[in-house]
């Protein structure tokens, strides 16, 4: 138990700078033409901007970590406990309910486990950080108004509450414009997708595989 292996990965990409390029180009066009009436060219550039905005819509990064080496699991029936809110979030949203619902949906959709109310495996969930953020603030200044969610999931085996695995994901939308409105609605989904991915990779490995 004392030699724990850890894996760290980063996924995702930032779209903020991609958006700035066509916008800068648009501004240059205005300056060169001296007016704002060159509609065909403007229209084309607007299309470019829209495409860039669409592509940059998922400006999300994830940092994930698996802290236990793989332990063979014979059972695949799991009970999912409600997430605990450890954030001290004082807003009106029920982030505990939201996160619990999304985790259950993701686990059911993953086909990794059969979900039941009584099961030999238990998944516990902690919401460690949540910030709603603001798309307007991100647009004004990248990094300001960041939307963040950090969740941790532990897999236990009953009876005896043997800890099998710990999975943690931190997702955030730091940059982007108004197209990132609603990031606070999908940030848990992104984080739990990452958790499911970690569990899948963890279960796909044989025992005694060292991770770096």
């Amino acid at each position: 138990m004392y030699g724990r292996a850890a894996a760290e990965g980063r996924a995702g990409w930032k779209g903020g700078t991609m958006v700035l390029l066509p916008l800068a180009s648009l501004g240059q066009h205005r300056a060169e033409s001296g007016n704002l009436v060159r509609v065909p060219c403007m229209h084309r550039r607007c299309v470019v901007v829209m495409v860039a905005l669409t592509l940059a819509g998922c400006a999300t990064e994830s940092v994930s970590r698996v802290e236990q080496p793989y332990v063979p699991i014979e059972q695949r029936v799991v009970r999912i406990e409600n997430c605990e809110d450890r954030t001290g979030f004082t807003g009106e949203r029920d982030i505990k309910g939201e996160a619990s619902r999304i985790l259950a949906e993701k686990i059911r959709g993953s086909s990794l486990f059969e979900v039941a109310t009584e099961a030999p495996l238990v998944l516990t969930c902690d919401i460690e950080r949540f910030a709603e953020g603001s798309a307007l603030k991100r647009w004004v200044l990248p990094g300001w108004g960041s939307t963040q969610a950090s969740v941790a999931v532990m897999l236990w085996e009953r009876p005896g509450d043997k800890l099998l695995g710990t999975f943690r994901s931190q997702s955030h939308v730091d940059a982007g414009g108004l197209y990132t409105i609603g990031a606070d609605q999908y940030i848990f989904s992104v984080a739990f997708n990452d958790i499911v991915k970690q569990i899948r990779e963890w279960m796909a490995q044989g025992p005694a595989v060292e991770r770096r």
Partner: protein, 125 residues
């Protein structure tokens, strides 16, 4: 006129952003008051500790002096950096607070804990 208005609005927003001193946190462990009331040495399990304190940030093990039996250790941290600001001379100021909690397990059961805290104002250039 539209451009001027937009620039004025942007400057206002940036200035407003400057008013809020940036801060950062690793995420707190908030239920330390429940350790002594809800966890029982030699009885409580890891699951009980997770219920009270949440998922640990790290784990490992150690053999402590005077007892050859190895103990498993869960690690919790809470580091906060607040009121980050730069003065006119370019010095960066911030208030840093840190809490570390170690929870010990013997044969899978809760066997005690240790915490320490520190912090203060830092300055760097």
């Amino acid at each position: 006129m539209l451009t001027r208005a937009a620039v004025a609005w942007l400057l206002t927003a940036v200035l407003a952003a400057g008013c809020a001193a940036p801060s950062a946190s690793t995420g707190a462990f908030t239920q330390t008051g429940r350790i002594e009331s809800e966890l029982e040495r030699g009885v409580s399990t890891k699951r009980d500790v997770q219920r009270v304190l949440g998922t640990p940030k790290g784990s490992g093990g150690a053999v402590l002096p005077t007892d050859p039996r190895g103990r498993e250790i869960w690690y919790y941290e809470d580091i906060k950096i607040a009121n980050m600001r730069q003065d006119a001379e370019g010095y960066l100021h911030a208030d840093i607070g840190q809490r570390i909690l170690l929870v010990f397990f013997l044969d899978g059961r809760f066997d005690g804990f240790m915490w320490f805290t520190g912090g203060g104002a830092v300055e760097s250039k």
